[in-house]
């Protein structure tokens, strides 16, 4: 097997500028690295390669060979492997849109926010009569149809939620005021006409100006943190 190294030297002398005369050990290395199911370290490669090959130098040369290619030879945790060139990572992703139906809980919560905004989570729960899971709120925030708009000036300073422009365009509404009121809902049969006299439906408004009882969100308010434990009555309820 030492003949390989010799052969190479001979080749180099015979055709010093022939770019095709590639040392055989580079072929072996690239085949081994290509087929391996995991990155290989130098010792493992040396064991598999013919004797007398300078693995370190061969790896360096192979790395140079592939440096400008779409596939590079990289060293990860002292092991060698082929990887797609970093600048081509865009090629390795496929984007797709996936249509998802909102859950019933989410659409119910969205409806309350639309009609009663600005509204806090506790108020939503008061109206719905059930506690809302944080997951439902997350999904709604992901739709981009609702947004936290401020904080209620009450103890605990809970977040207030309102709808966005994306909400209007999703439901083909010119303005939030186009949401049907009590009489219209009764007219379409969605609301029972024999409801008690005290029953009312608010005239919704998504005016971005904060109400008197709202504080602005602070700069740096981390929404993820804001929505977590403290604002989650479920976890609180379990303890009670």
């Amino acid at each position: 097997m030492a003949s390989l190294a010799e052969k190479r030297i001979v080749d180099d002398e015979d055709h010093p500028v022939d770019p095709q005369a590639r040392p055989e050990e580079l072929r072996l290395l690239e085949a081994l690295l290509f087929a391996s199911t995991e990155p290989l370290d130098q010792a493992t490669l040396a064991k598999r390669m013919p004797d007398g090959v300078d693995i370190k130098q061969a790896l360096a040369q192979l790395q140079a060979d592939y440096a400008l290619r779409g596939v590079n030879l990289v060293r990860v945790a002292n092991k060698w492997t082929f990887r797609t060139a970093g600048d081509l990572s865009w090629l390795m992703t496929r984007e797709s849109t996936e249509t998802r139906r909102l859950s019933r809980a989410a659409i119910e919560m969205l409806a309350i926010i639309a009609y009663h905004q600005p509204v806090t989570r506790a108020e939503i729960e008061e109206i719905r009569g059930v506690v809302t899971s944080k997951g439902t709120l997350d999904v709604l925030l992901e739709t981009g149809w609702i947004r936290p708009r401020g904080r209620r000036k009450t103890p605990g300073r809970p977040l207030t939620f309102g709808t966005t422009e994306a909400f209007l365009s999703q439901f083909s509404l010119e303005a939030l005021g186009d949401l049907p009121g009590l009489e219209e809902l009764k007219g379409t049969g969605l609301l029972d006409s024999r409801l008690p006299s005290g029953f009312s439906v608010p005239a919704p408004s998504d005016d971005p100006a904060l109400r008197d009882d709202e504080d602005p969100l602070e700069i740096g308010d981390n929404l993820e943190l804001l929505l977590a434990p403290a604002a989650d009555p479920e976890t609180g309820g379990e303890e009670g």
């Binding site: 085949a31 290509f34 087929a35 391996s36 199911t37 995991e38 990155p39 492997t81 082929f82 990887r83 797609t84 390795m92 992703t93 496929r94 984007e95 797709s96 849109t97 996936e98 249509t99 998802r100 139906r101 909102l102 019933r104 659409i107 119910e108 969205l110 409806a111 309350i112 639309a114 009609y115 109206i127 719905r128 009569g129 999904v139 992901e142 739709t143 149809w145 999703q170 439901f171 083909s172 509404l173 949401l179 049907p180 809902l185 379409t188 969605l190 609301l191 029972d192 409801l195 008690p196 029953f199 439906v201």
Partner: protein, 274 residues
Amino acid sequence: MSAEILSFETGRPAEIVEGEPSLVVDVEGYEGPLDLLLALARQQKVDLAKISILALADQYLVFIEAARKIRLELAADYLVMAAWLAFLKSRLLLPEPATPDGPSAEEMATALANRLRRLEAIREASNRLMNRPQLQRDIFPRGDPEAIAEVKHPKFTATLYDLLTAYAVQRQQRVLTTVHLAKRTVWSLAEARASLERLVGIAEEWSCLDEYLLSYVVDPSQKATVFASSFAAALELVREGEMELNQKEAFAPLYFRKRVPVAAAMSAPDLPVE
């Protein structure tokens, strides 16, 4: 040792050399009569196209005969082939009839030669196929392929109708639920009577109805309904002779006890002393 004896007894020794030195009678080694015929034909060491079917038929019949002598169990198709070859041999040796009905002996012989050539050809082809560089044996695909990441952008769907229905249903549900809860706060006469009946059963002595009722009233807002229903139920039980009521004056506490039989009632009622 025992294995050897056993194989001898079953008449299936591994090797029995018959008259022809090259002929090893071991039918197990062949995959059917055609395979055996092909092996015999190869012994003629000529191109299969030029093989002597007559000689081949002879060899086959000799082999089969030898196998039968050593009581080798032959599958039926070996014997069918032997019979067919014996028939073909006789046809080949006899002069052809002037107007043969079926295929001539020559045609039958050619057909057999062709079958042998085809089997030989497919053997050769399968060898060449298996000698091709095979995946995972000689050549290898990328061992650690990089997955193409799928980035999914969710697009949510909901209609205005969904939204309005959800709103109307929730609001309406809440209203109805409230009405329902209000109903449950009333203590019915039946409930009051059932409770009193249970209590009277154990109250031999005068007991204070108000104290008893208060222990039942968890929610202060229910006090009125509990007292009203219990009073009505108590009057009913007195009318039925199940219980006795005693009140010193208007708005004074009400006392009750189980109504005692007439004999016992003769003794003076000893009212509880506060």
